[in-house]
């Protein structure tokens, strides 16, 4: 146990000292989804182009559940540039369309989880596309909580400030967040 802690510490130290390029390469080697993309791990491929790969989920919510992956390694969606985001979700729409046409799906969900608190389990960005039918046993729930007008105003303004860049976000903060993300995930595995 102590040994494991030592190893984890050494690993975290090593990660901290890596250049961004080294880090990316390291993540790629550690990432099962990068191995799937590289063809080193088998998968059921549904669709592929230069930016994305769609495979069947081996633990599907419903038959036909697709994992849509970026070929480039990103651990969370906020890291992905706009043009790739556009591409990913046009592909997601088309695959959702495919489900409605061929699987007799009556609906679809598109879900992304960023961070462990949001239910993210993999260290690679994934858009889940899930074909849905009536009474298929999936029970997602998003509670509705009445927000106070004052709170809506305050939080809205914070979000606007961040979007328009009027609030200083400490530079490096994002990178720090990714480190936390990576080490947390490494801790889980």
């Amino acid at each position: 146990m102590a040994d494991e802690n030592e190893q984890m510490k050494a690993l975290q130290e090593k990660i901290k000292n890596m250049s961004p390029e080294e880090l990316k390469e390291f993540q790629k080697q550690q990432c099962i989804f990068c191995q799937i993309i590289a063809g080193k791990v088998q998968s059921k491929r549904i669709y592929e182009d230069e930016n994305v790969l769609a495979v069947l989920d081996i633990n599907p919510a419903n038959p036909g559940h697709i994992l849509l992956l970026t070929k480039e390694h990103y651990s969370i969606m906020p890291q992905i540039p706009d043009d790739v985001i556009g591409h990913v979700f046009i592909a997601a729409k088309s695959l959702s369309n495919s489900m409605l046409r061929t699987l007799e799906a009556q609906g679809t969900n598109i879900i992304v989880a960023n961070g462990i608190a949001a239910g993210q389990r993999a260290q690679h960005f994934i858009a889940h596309i899930i074909p849905r039918k009536d009474k298929d046993g999936i029970e997602f729930s998003i509670p509705q909580v009445q927000q106070s007008q004052a709170e809506i105003e305050e939080i809205g303004n914070k979000i606007i400030s961040s979007l328009t860049g009027k609030v200083e976000t400490k530079s490096g903060e994002k990178i720090k967040m990714d480190f936390d993300e990576i080490s947390k995930i490494l801790g889980v595995k």
């Binding site: 369309n97 799906a105 609906g107 849905r132 997602f140 509670p143």
Partner: protein, 177 residues
């Protein structure tokens, strides 16, 4: 710009229902959900009226999710969320409650009562190969328009619904209180 009478989202976009707007461009609007799961829960929608995602043209799909990602990023940065979910329900069995395409951007923290998990289903090899073949065959039609390569642009047509089909969708979607 097409908008639909009786559509609550179109009324928000038109400004007939007040909302706290956080993001707006020519095609997309993002507002705070008054009954959000967590403070800062936003919904993001195309300004044009589309009942389901398959009707939304590719360029608007791209913009919709680019805006959603920007808002998600801003939620991380400005309110210190521990995570975010991007969630879209397409059709009633998927949990869609309004007849206008809406992306939820949900700030997350531990034990906040949001549940977007599922129990994995065990499928036989045969079931897996059946869906694999069907989806693979259909996915051959997926063609994504790349602005840089002007040659051979082939865009999959958005799902076109006849007036009748559209009415059926609208009616179905409105059944939910």
């Amino acid at each position: 710009m097409s908008s639909q009478q009786n559509c609550i989202i179109c009324s928000i976009i038109a400004g007939n229902i007040p909302s706290k707007k956080v993001y707006e461009d020519d095609l997309i609007l993002g507002v705070i959900d008054m009954n959000g799961a967590n403070p800062g829960h936003c919904f993001v929608m195309p300004k044009n009226h589309y009942a389901i995602l398959e009707q939304v043209p590719d360029n608007e799909v791209a913009k919709l999710f680019q805006a959603s990602n920007k808002i998600s990023r801003a939620i991380f940065e400005s309110i210190g969320a521990q995570g975010t979910n991007i969630f879209l329900a397409n059709g009633i069995p998927a949990g869609q409650t309004v007849a206008h395409v809406t992306v939820n951007v949900i700030p997350r923290k531990e034990n906040d009562g949001v549940n977007l998990q599922w129990a994995p289903k065990q499928l036989s090899e045969e079931e897996i190969s059946t869906v694999e073949l069907k989806l693979k065959e259909q996915a051959k039609n997926v063609a994504i328009d790349k602005p840089k390569e002007k040659k051979e642009i082939r865009q999959e047509k958005p799902l076109e619904l006849s007036k009748e089909e559209e009415d059926i969708y609208e009616k179905q979607l409105r059944k939910i209180p």
